[in-house]
């Protein structure tokens, strides 16, 4: 119970502050680059980035110093996840990523 109340405080407070954003490009050479950021200009470098397929994590890593992550394009359907924790999670479907 205590955890729930405390957790609620945390969630509400930290949810706020800045909005998370991400966009992905297909580089045309079988790799995809995703670039992340926050609305208040904070850097997204070091933020956890995952590529998931069928519920399994195919690739996991962190955003580079330039706030981007490049990975080999998987076969079939997949999802790109920008996981900044505490509610800032952005998901982009593979089918939406264009060249």
């Amino acid at each position: 119970m205590k955890k729930i109340i405390l957790g609620a405080f945390l969630a509400i407070n930290t949810l706020f502050g800045h909005t998370a954003i991400m966009s992905c490009f297909d580089n045309g050479d079988d790799t995809i680059t995703c670039e992340g950021g926050f609305s208040d200009g904070s850097s997204a470098s070091g933020v956890v980035f995952k590529v998931e397929q069928n519920g399994k994590t195919l690739i996991e890593g962190k955003m580079s110093e330039d706030s981007e992550f490049t990975f080999k394009k998987p076969q079939g359907d997949y999802r790109a996840l920008f996981d900044a924790g505490e509610g800032h999670t952005i998901i982009i479907k593979g089918s939406e990523i264009t060249q």
Binding site: L10, F16, H18, I21, S43, S45, E65
Partner: protein
């Protein structure tokens, strides 16, 4: 063109009538010299132009409160042609008390019986015709919430304006009459428009406003009035003030007896039933906390979702600005571009809050309209009173940020309604201690870096310690600096609950958001300009400049070498061309960030292809081998360039005026564990608390390894411990929110003295507290979480001590008075008077 004044008691639905007549074209200003709102609107009906002013709600027309004085001065100075008296039909007797006073003035009055629907529902039957006959003025039935009665009212106004037939209204004051007539003869007036009798009555009531006006032509009017008053009191052994009041209420009784039938006298209303739970001894406080919690939960969670949609708009604006500004030449960014980007970032950070505030303010407006606020004051008054505050301080403190973040600016602006001068000032000076929403990213950064295991607990401490601090400060202020201010009695109506009107809520929410934009955004931007200068200048030393130039050139030469054998070399064989390509690349990426759909992406691509086909090839090389080489090197180049830019930025900050300030403060602040970098971050955040994160973040961005998050970088590289973080957090909690808050303090208190106090007192408090905790923590080797717990416990303990300490002060006579003038001796004196 006629001028109409709208008068009525609080909670009679005056605003709804005002909105009903004037539509949304309202203008809010101030009555001259005071912080009371003056709401006016213009509209036309048939051939008539009407200017309508909404007077502040007053229970009576004496001169004992600011609102009454303002209302009276308006009538005296601006002589409206008609007074519309809005009356709560379900509360006729008390409302008639004001009606009589208005009728006596001498200006035609239209009585509007509002909330007829509520009265009907309660089984209250009113014979409007009879009232009209007895008062000798038009009486119109309306239901403002349902917009019923609008046409009748407008017709009446129109008819009255065409033939201003005024029947003088005389309330028979029985044994007081001779004295009134006697005074009437003694008074000389400039203007015949106002009833002589009214002036005489007011004089006998010792009304300050009237007396000072009359004393110009009749200099000894005050003495004459006093003589008459004493003569009456000695003869009849009754006090004139009470007598006037009794007579008015008896007359109101007569009207009610004759014209009002209550069919459901003893059945419980919805309000009665609701209050059984809401004001129940055991349920009241839990319900209160639940409601506040729900408000924040909704506004922040919902508001955050909305920012997902509004952010692209702001970002697009940012891109537009960047497009207009001169382009960067590799690592040389023109000053104006730097400036432009800085300003846009500052503005966007603030504007991003708008959806959240909109929802928060709308929810609070709903709470106000429903009628819950007086209940809140009723429940909490005992606690607030202990600390020198007032039950009505609830709203300002809630707006300022009770559980979660709020904004002190609307909080302070809403202190207008607090009748008690001392409590009002105390509230204004304690609201800034509440949870400022903009400070949250700062806490998040530090908590993420140093307290990842205990984040929830720390956040709980931070969110809740503020209200205790606010209470302590309020008590401190009211016992010392504010000791001798006027206090007011806590006599507060508990109006029936009613459904809020959509229009009312929307108008109020937008009003407050607009206020936020006008005050906060404009001031913060102004200060941001100054900050920019402080952070930029004096800039890089010439040797550093040379160093960076060399670095840039090295990178460019490297790039050039690799490109020499490329078939496209001619397109990128000079620094300018490379810079141009780099800018093209940056622009493309930021534009693509904004679109999420395939069509949108295609549109961006098309635009860029049209601009420069070859460059586009380098961005999307597909299978072209040479282009792919360029693409790879381009990305590497971009990354290296950005690194240099970050280094330049950091170097600039270190050398800047602000940096120097930060360094000069170090000797003192080191006791709290703050080095110059933290000082700079705090200084820069004075404009807007959001900047603290950006500045602090960027200072540490530079020194971190690849792939480290800002939080991690801080944790590992800065050399700070959780204890440092606690000191920083404590300082941040205690220091005042942005400059905008300070400006609003000045506006509400009408004095620069208080504004300066509101700036320096918290800062001093903050640094003392931070130093104390840091020193204590260091000497006793406390961990971060232990230090924070210590601080929290100390604050709560202090609050409880202050709260439970019995107070010997009687609140409405104000301050601590010497015994000879205390309440008891006054009582004895009045007893003596009685016996005579």
């Amino acid at each position: 063109m006629i001028k109409i004044a709208l008068a009525g008691q609080p909670n009679c639905g005056k605003s709804t009538i005002f909105n009903m007549l004037s539509g949304i074209y309202q203008h809010i200003a101030n009555y001259p010299g005071v912080t009371v709102d003056k709401k006016s609107g213009r509209f036309s009906y048939k051939a008539l132009d009407i200017e309508m002013v909404d007077l502040p709600g007053t229970y009576s027309f004496s001169s004992y409160s600011l609102e009454e004085r303002v209302a009276k001065e308006f009538i005296l100075n601006e002589r409206p042609d008609i007074i519309i008296n809005v009356v709560d039909a379900s509360n006729l007797k008390r409302n008639l008390y004001l009606t009589f006073q208005l009728l006596e003035i001498g200006i035609p009055v239209i009585v509007v019986l509002n909330m007829m629907d509520v009265a009907k529902r309660r089984g209250i039957d009113i014979n409007t015709q009879e009232i009209q006959k007895m008062l000798k003025c038009p009486v119109i039935e309306t239901s403002g919430a349902k917009a019923e009665g609008k046409n009748e009212l407008l017709e009446t106004i129109y008819a009255l304006s065409n033939e201003l037939k005024y029947h003088e209204f005389k309330l028979n004051y029985d044994i007081l009459e001779p004295y009134i007539e006697h005074l009437q003869k003694k008074i000389t007036v400039q203007n015949e428009n106002l009833s002589q009798r009214w002036l005489s009555i007011k004089t006998l009531e010792e009304d300050e406003t009237i007396l000072s006006r009359l004393s110009f032509l009749t200099p000894n009017i005050k003495e004459i009035a006093q003589q008459s008053k004493e003569a009456f009191e000695n003869t009849y052994n009754k006090d004139t003030t009470s007598f006037f009041a009794s007579t008015r209420y008896e007359s109101a009784d007569i009207i009610c007896h004759k014209c009002v039938k209550e069919n459901k006298k003893n059945s419980l209303t919805v309000t009665d039933i609701a209050d059984k739970y809401i004001l129940n001894r055991w349920l009241a406080l839990p319900i209160l906390f639940l409601i506040i919690f729900a408000i924040y939960q909704l506004s922040i969670v919902l508001g955050y979702k909305i920012t997902d949609y509004t952010w692209p708009i702001l970002a697009a604006f940012k891109n537009l600005v960047i497009d207009i500004l001169p382009q960067a030449n590799f690592t040389e960014v023109p000053l104006i571009t730097d400036f432009g980007v800085w300003m846009v970032n500052s503005a966007n950070a603030l504007l991003n809050y708008i959806p959240i505030f909109l929802i928060l303010f709308a929810l609070i407006a709903i709470l106000e309209d429903v009628g819950y606020m007086p209940r809140m004051a009723f429940i909490l008054d005992r606690v607030f009173k202990k600390f020198g505050l007032h039950g009505q301080s609830t709203l300002p403190l809630v707006l300022g940020g009770a559980f979660v973040g709020g904004c002190a600016v609307p909080g302070i602006m809403s202190t207008k309604g607090i009748p008690d001068d001392r409590a009002r000032l105390a509230t204004i000076l304690s609201v800034p201690y509440m949870n400022c929403l903009a400070k949250v990213p700062f806490y998040t950064l530090l908590l993420g870096a140093f307290f990842s295991a205990n984040m929830a607990l720390m956040m709980f401490f931070i969110s809740t310690v503020t209200i205790f601090i606010a209470l302590i400060v309020a008590k401190l202020l009211t016992s010392s600096v504010l000791k001798n201010r006027e206090t007011a009695p806590f006599v507060m109506e508990l109006p029936p609950y009613h459904l809020p009107t959509f229009k009312g809520v929307v108008i109020r929410a937008f009003e407050r958001v607009w206020l936020y934009i006008k005050k906060v955004v404009t001031i913060v931007l102004a200060v941001a300009v100054i900050l920019f200068a402080l952070l930029q200048f004096p800039g890089l030393s010439s040797e550093k400049q040379q160093y960076f130039e060399q670095e840039s050139n090295a990178i460019l030469q490297d790039f050039d070498k690799k490109m020499k054998d490329n078939s496209y070399y001619s397109l990128i064989d000079s620094k300018e061309k490379v810079a141009s390509l780099l800018n093209y690349y940056d622009e493309y990426r930021s534009k693509r960030m904004l679109t999420s759909s395939k069509e949108g992406a295609q549109k961006v691509d098309d635009a860029f292809i049209a601009r420069n086909q070859e460059f586009f090839l380098f961005i999307k090389p597909k299978t072209n081998k040479d282009a792919r080489i360029i693409n790879k090197e381009l990305r590497s180049l971009s990354s290296q360039r950005n690194k240099i830019l970050r280094e330049i930025k950091n170097e600039k900050i270190e050398n800047s005026l602000l940096g120097m300030m930060g360094r000069s403060m170090e000797p003192l602040t080191l006791y709290a564990g703050f080095d110059w970098k933290i000082n700079v971050a705090f200084l820069s955040s004075f404009a807007a608390r959001e900047s603290a994160v950006a500045t602090l973040g960027s200072i540490y961005e530079n020194n971190k390894a690849d792939n480290q998050r800002a939080e991690e970088a801080m944790a590992l590289n800065s050399g700070y411990t959780p204890l440092h973080a606690v000191a920083m957090i404590i300082f941040m909690v205690l220091t005042p929110p942005c400059i905008a808050t300070m400006i609003v303090v000045k506006i509400q208190t009408n004095s620069y003295k208080w504004m300066l106090f509101a700036i320096f007192f918290p800062i001093t408090l903050g640094i003392v507290a931070a130093i104390s905790i840091f020193q204590l923590g260091t000497t006793h080797a406390l961990s971060g979480i232990e230090a924070m717990t210590l601080f929290y416990a100390a604050v709560v303990l202090l609050t409880l001590i202050v709260g439970l300490f019995p107070s010997k002060r009687i609140n409405w006579t104000g301050g601590i008075e010497p015994k000879t003038n205390g309440l008891y001796s006054k009582y004895i004196q009045s007893q003596k008077k009685e016996k005579r």
